[in-house]
Amino acid sequence: MQPEISLKATGRSRRRMLVNKLFEGSSILAAALAIAVLAVVIWSVGSRGVSAINLDFFLKGPSSSFFGGGGGIAPAFVGSFLLVAIAVAFALPVGVLSAIYVSEFAPAAIGRQVRLWLDVLNGFPSIVIGIFVFALAVKVKVPLLGIGHHQSAVAGGFALSVIMLPLIARSTMEVLRLVPNHLREASYALGVSKWQTVLRVVLPTSFGGILTGTTLAVARAAGETAPLLFTCALAGQVVDWNPTHSVMSLPLTIFEYSESADPSQHAQAWAAAFVLIVFVLVTSLVSRLLLDRSRRKLGLAR
């Protein structure tokens, strides 16, 4: 009779398996930790924020009574909308046009340089961008336009557009690269000029991708606080649609209320954070899904 061979690992192989288990366990733990942090952040914002959300919160301005309580942050919603709209108005045309230049006109070497500098811009700290706009538009008088020399929604929106520009330009470049070349060639073969090919063939094909890239940039810009500190922070507490005035905004309201001594403002900060986080997460999630879809569509078309 043969002696039984034990299948239980011993000695060296046992140690190797233990080390492997340790590695697998700690990897799983690390991923679980990251998700747990996300869950805890969302849960604490949600559980503290929901209680302060009511109709007044969306429709009224901050209460002016000294003892606080009540009121809402309607001016911040309007202001954030205004700021992001201005930012899109600046960043979208410049971003899309420069992506068109890189992918349709420029030689590869210039394209590489443009990408590099857009990445550098993307790496700039957002607070420095705020200070740049402060030094450019807030300190300097621009008498004809009526902007400048004071903080304004235009200055804040411009600062946000500098944040958005590299995001929009890079994502548009990526989508334009996915447009199949035979579509362009078919258009040229029909005698269509280059600019019409770009406007009528390339852009419509990549429209979905550009839209989702822009939405991601909007989600990012809507949550940015630092660029607004120097450019659009000293605002009145009423709903103000005038872009040459400084306006309240959602992130800055959270920032200021979070350091306030008044507990009712803490509750409003949590509520505003809840609205902001829901907006940002839903937009970025939806646009990511759309981006995957349009990428797949273009990938199949090739």
Partner: protein
């Protein structure tokens, strides 16, 4: 033969006038937009240098190692802020690098596809949370938790090392800022790591497994070494984010300038100082000093970016060299 006799000039003129003008105009407009976009980088650098110039003229480079920030005396120096920036950012890197690499490995090597996609999306979602929200959470949830549980625990074990000294029950601390920055850099670094690890050729991994290696040995001997430089670049990109983060840090760090070498004390960083001075800056010299501070931050960021580019280039060279 007929076609050959048509003069070249006529062929050109068959293009409609509008098309020719349109092409030129469209080229011009898009080139101009590109110039504008790239020009912003130069404009930022130029504007910041010009704005900082009055302070540069007064303080020269001594600004970098002088450590007074007193608006009444009109004396400004950045030493402790620079040190605070480096301590918080590198501290965050120490925590986030192993975690990010582990998450990248989990998502690329261990997790089945059905787990990989949702978990990857959730980690990416962490990157989308606005910094002001992380900061708010940091003040009211993380900081008390740190002060009551984490910091005393670390202090009781490692308190004999000066850097873990101080009063561990303080709420606004450098340590909490480090944790906040860790949370903010993990999604950046880990998603790049995941892409890098996924790019490692399957044959290499299967070869290692086929030779009897465990998954850990495969990771240690094949996966990580083949993308080591890329991992370094990913860590440096995360570092760039940590260096420049202003809002979340200023909310939790306590904005306290005198330098302590212990991380359980309040502190300050360049970006955080910029963020909390936005309403207080009155004199021209103070404003200029703040812009000088921004310039210092920009130079640090720039050096980090250049380092990342260089490492990536070396990495690409290695890859093509090996093929």
């Amino acid at each position: 033969m007929e076609a050959a006799s048509i003069p070249a000039g006529r062929l050109r003129s068959t293009r409609r006038f509008g098309d020719r003008v349109g092409d030129v105009v469209f080229y011009g407009v898009s080139a101009l937009a590109t110039l504008l976009g790239v020009g912003v980088v130069a404009a930022i650098a130029w504007r910041v240098i010009v704005g900082a110039w009055p302070a540069i003229k007064v303080f020269h480079l001594a600004f970098l190692w002088h450590n007074v920030w007193n608006a009444n005396l009109n004396e400004f120096g950045a030493r402790d802020l620079i040190i605070g920036t480096l301590v918080t950012s590198f501290g965050a890197m120490l925590l986030s690098t192993p975690l990010s690499v582990a998450i990248g490995l989990f998502l690329s090597e261990l997790a089945p596809p059905a787990v990989r996609t949702p978990v990857g999306a959730l980690v990416d979602m962490l990157a989308a949370v606005p910094s002001v929200v992380i900061g708010l959470w940091g003040i009211y949830v993380l900081a008390p938790f740190d002060a009551n549980h984490v910091q005393p625990a670390i202090h009781s074990v490692l308190g004999w090392i000066p850097i873990f000294g101080g009063d561990p029950h303080t709420e606004s601390t450098v340590f909490t800022a480090i944790v906040v920055l860790t949370i903010m850099t993990i999604p950046i670094t880990s998603s790049i790591c995941r892409e890098l690890f996924l790019g490692v050729p399957t044959e290499l991994e299967e070869g290692a497994i086929g030779l009897g290696a465990t998954r850990w040995e495969m990771v240690k001997t094949v996966v990580v070494p083949s993308v080591r430089a890329g991992v370094v670049a990913a860590v440096i990109l995360g570092l760039g984010r940590a260096l420049g983060e202003a809002i979340a840090v200023t909310q939790v760090i306590g904005n306290f300038i005198p330098l302590h070498l212990a991380i359980f004390n309040p502190g300050d960083t360049i970006a955080s100082r910029l963020a909390n001075q936005y309403q207080g800056a009155i004199t021209n010299l103070q404003i200029s000093s703040l812009i000088y501070l921004a310039l210092v931050l920009l130079v640090i960021e720039f050096l980090v970016n250049v380092a990342a580019q260089r490492v990536v280039k070396r990495f690409e060279f290695q890859r093509t060299g090996a093929d």
